[in-house]
């Protein structure tokens, strides 16, 4: 198959060069316009993406690797890293389950109140993170609605890890569902129906037909969800109480360090967060690339 396409493409290219050039001139934009557009895009990327990234890495390693390592190996920093990873490990799977279930319900079934559900999923994007934090303080705080009941049962939500997890779940709620809803709506339910008529159970249909079809949307949603869960600041700052070594996540820890004029340490932790973000992007690219190769290797 591959060789055939290549041969055909070569033949076409060899025979059609003059025609192609003429056609290009007629349909292409003028040179100055192309260069202006490319220039704007590159300048924008450089200013808003590459420059900050460079600053973070430069500031982090300014005083050498040893200082960088020391900043990360500090007890409070280690605790913040551990807490952030714990939050991610809890929040991402929860949102995957919720996102797939919600997208499935919205895309494949008709029920009353569907538009309301879709709007509700978007709500966390619309509300300011600080307000989100306050909502949960009012709900679970010592003087909040559920506060006395929680105190009676010796449960701590606010100024503790459960509170951080809850606001992170809330803040990242839309990511997976939002990625999947349009994808699943566009794909329709015919493939699932075909699977059922062929004798597959609902569970088999989900694992063998639905999931592979939404795989890319899901991975993308997970990456966004993961990035947000790690970076969530406002809401977490309100509910965590910022207890050093206990309820400080990485972003909170960075702020603490920064406020104490420990710039190198702040940037060291920041560089670690940036590194984690770059790693997730690298993993996504790798999976994409392998899938591409598997497809083309098949014939």
């Amino acid at each position: 198959m591959n060789s055939l396409t290549h041969d055909a493409a070569d033949g076409l290219a060899a025979g059609a060069v003059p025609v192609a050039r003429r056609w290009q001139r007629a349909t292409e934009e003028p040179r100055w316009l192309r260069w202006t557009l490319i220039g704007i895009a590159v300048a924008f990327l450089a200013t808003f993406l590459l420059l900050p990234l460079t600053v973070v890495l430069y500031s982090a390693f300014e005083r050498g690797l040893a200082v960088w390592w020391q900043a990360l190996n500090d007890a409070d920093a280690r605790s913040a890293i551990r807490l952030t990873l714990l939050v991610v490990v809890i929040v991402v799977p929860l949102n995957v389950i919720f996102g797939v279930a919600a997208a499935w319900a919205i895309a494949k079934f008709d029920f009353r109140g569907k538009p309301i559900l879709i709007s509700l999923i978007d709500m966390p994007f619309a509300i300011s993170p600080v307000v989100v934090g306050l909502i949960f303080v009012i709900l679970f705080g010592a003087h909040g609605w559920l506060g006395p009941w929680l105190a009676e049962h010796d449960l701590k939500v606010i100024f503790a890890v459960p509170g951080i997890v809850i606001v992170s779940v809330f803040g990242t709620l839309p990511f997976v569902a939002r990625e999947l809803i349009p994808l699943m709506q566009q794909q329709g339910k015919e493939e699932e129906e075909a699977s059922l008529t062929l004798g597959a159970s609902g569970w088999q249909t989900f694992w063998r037909v639905t999931l592979p079809n939404i795989k890319w949307g899901l991975i993308y949603g997970v990456i966004l969800c993961n990035a947000r869960a790690m970076g969530e600041f406002g809401a977490v700052a309100v509910v965590s109480g910022r207890i050093r070594g206990e309820t400080n996540t990485m972003p909170l820890h960075i702020e603490v360090l920064y406020n104490e004029y420990m710039f190198t340490a702040a940037f060291a932790v920041a560089s670690l967060m940036t590194g984690l973000a770059l790693l997730t992007i690298a993993i996504k690219t790798l999976i994409e690339w392998q899938d591409e190769r598997r497809r083309h290797g098949a014939h």
Partner: protein, 353 residues
């Protein structure tokens, strides 16, 4: 009986999709459900498959009540208009799917699956596409793969929902002839839905004409075409001319013509005479007991000539159709007068029309 449909009803909100339909479909028959969009034909097919639940009524498959059986346990093959192939699987895996999802106890081993899939791909003449993905195939090829996939689980009945609807005219014509031959070869009871009367006539053993959720007529293609039960069927199965008529004592009076009727009607009844374009005899000279009209337009479509005529003082265009050689013999000229007389027609009383 392979499929027994008993008093099926289905509503979507206020819309009545299927209105108390009962049908029996015999073993090995290829039946067409024919009707305009919204006539309930697809709903009925999906109810037979179990993809849709009927509000009331029962479905029996091979004598067994399947009304409450889940679609995955009914043993039906279903072919979708837009193929519904699994896009992330190769053609081979698509066809093998129904076998690989069987419970382990009854699942064939890998070698058996492989043999079966390859023989099905040979049956649909696409064994060379086994390693490809659906996106690399043409529409016609995809639909043949979808058919092979449905046949892999050896369904008791095969249901096809507008199987050729998404294909272009030439491929469609080829594929339906191919389906007819395939059906004669494998002989599985099949029901297919179409809104194309030509397709229904060409492919099926039996045509069920549906309209507004009801069965209008049910019979062989020839019966349905030659003896339409009512004006709807008459109009749906091809173009038709209508003339107001008065019926009495076994004859119909149409614009001064007196035509004998095959079926004696009631006395002095007002009705409509339905005549197909090819059921009109034409003359270039005045002929007794005929209708005079002006020949307004002559269109040659391959070997056939289509004529548009108009009676003096009338807005209604009369359509006629005849072979080219016959048109030449008659010496009809566009813009001149012509005389016409129906040699086949049906009368429906006013209430029905």
């Amino acid at each position: 009986m392979s499929i027994e449909i008993q008093q099926i009803n289905k509503r979507f909100g206020d819309f009545v999709a299927v209105d108390n339909v009962s049908l029996s479909i015999e073993d090995g028959q290829l039946t067409a459900l024919l009707g305009p969009s919204g006539s309930g034909k697809t709903s009925l097919l999906r109810i037979i498959a179990g993809l849709e639940a009927a509000d009331s009524g029962r479905i029996l498959l091979h004598g067994e009540d399947s009304t409450d059986r889940h679609v995955s346990e009914r043993g039906v093959g279903f072919v979708f208009q837009h193929y519904a192939l699994f896009r992330h699987m190769t053609v081979f895996d698509n066809v093998a799917y129904g076998l690989t999802v069987k419970p382990r106890a009854v699942r064939p081993d890998k070698a058996t699956i492989r043999k079966k899939v390859m023989s099905l791909l040979e049956l649909v003449q696409l064994d060379w596409t086994a390693a490809r993905y659906p996106s690399q195939l043409s529409g016609g090829q995809r639909q043949r793969i979808a058919l092979a996939r449905a046949l892999a689980v050896e369904p008791k009945v095969l249901l096809l929902d507008e199987p050729f609807g998404a294909l272009d005219a030439k491929v469609r014509a080829e594929l339906r002839r191919w389906l007819r031959r395939l059906h004669d070869e494998i002989y599985v009871t099949s029901v297919f839905v179409t809104h194309d009367q030509e397709e229904a006539m060409e492919v099926s053993d039996r045509v069920v004409v549906m309209n507004r959720g009801r069965v209008e007529q049910d019979g062989s293609p020839e019966q349905v075409y030659d003896h339409p039960a009512n004006p709807f069927v008459y109009q749906f199965l091809g173009s038709v001319n209508r003339f107001p008529a008065r019926i009495h004592q076994g004859v119909a009076e149409v614009a001064g013509m007196v035509l004998p009727l095959a079926q004696p009607g009631d006395h002095s009844e007002q009705g409509q005479l339905y005549v197909r374009p090819h059921e009109l005899d034409l003359f270039a000279e005045a002929t007794p007991n005929s209708l005079r009209a002006q020949l307004e337009l002559v269109t040659v479509v391959g070997p056939t000539v289509r004529l548009e005529l108009r009676q003096q003082g009338s807005d209604e265009v009369i359509h006629a159709e005849l072979p080219k050689y016959r048109f030449r013999e008659l010496g009809l000229v566009q813009g001149e007068q012509a005389w016409l007389r129906p040699h086949g027609a049906r009368v429906f009383s006013e209430q029905l029309g």
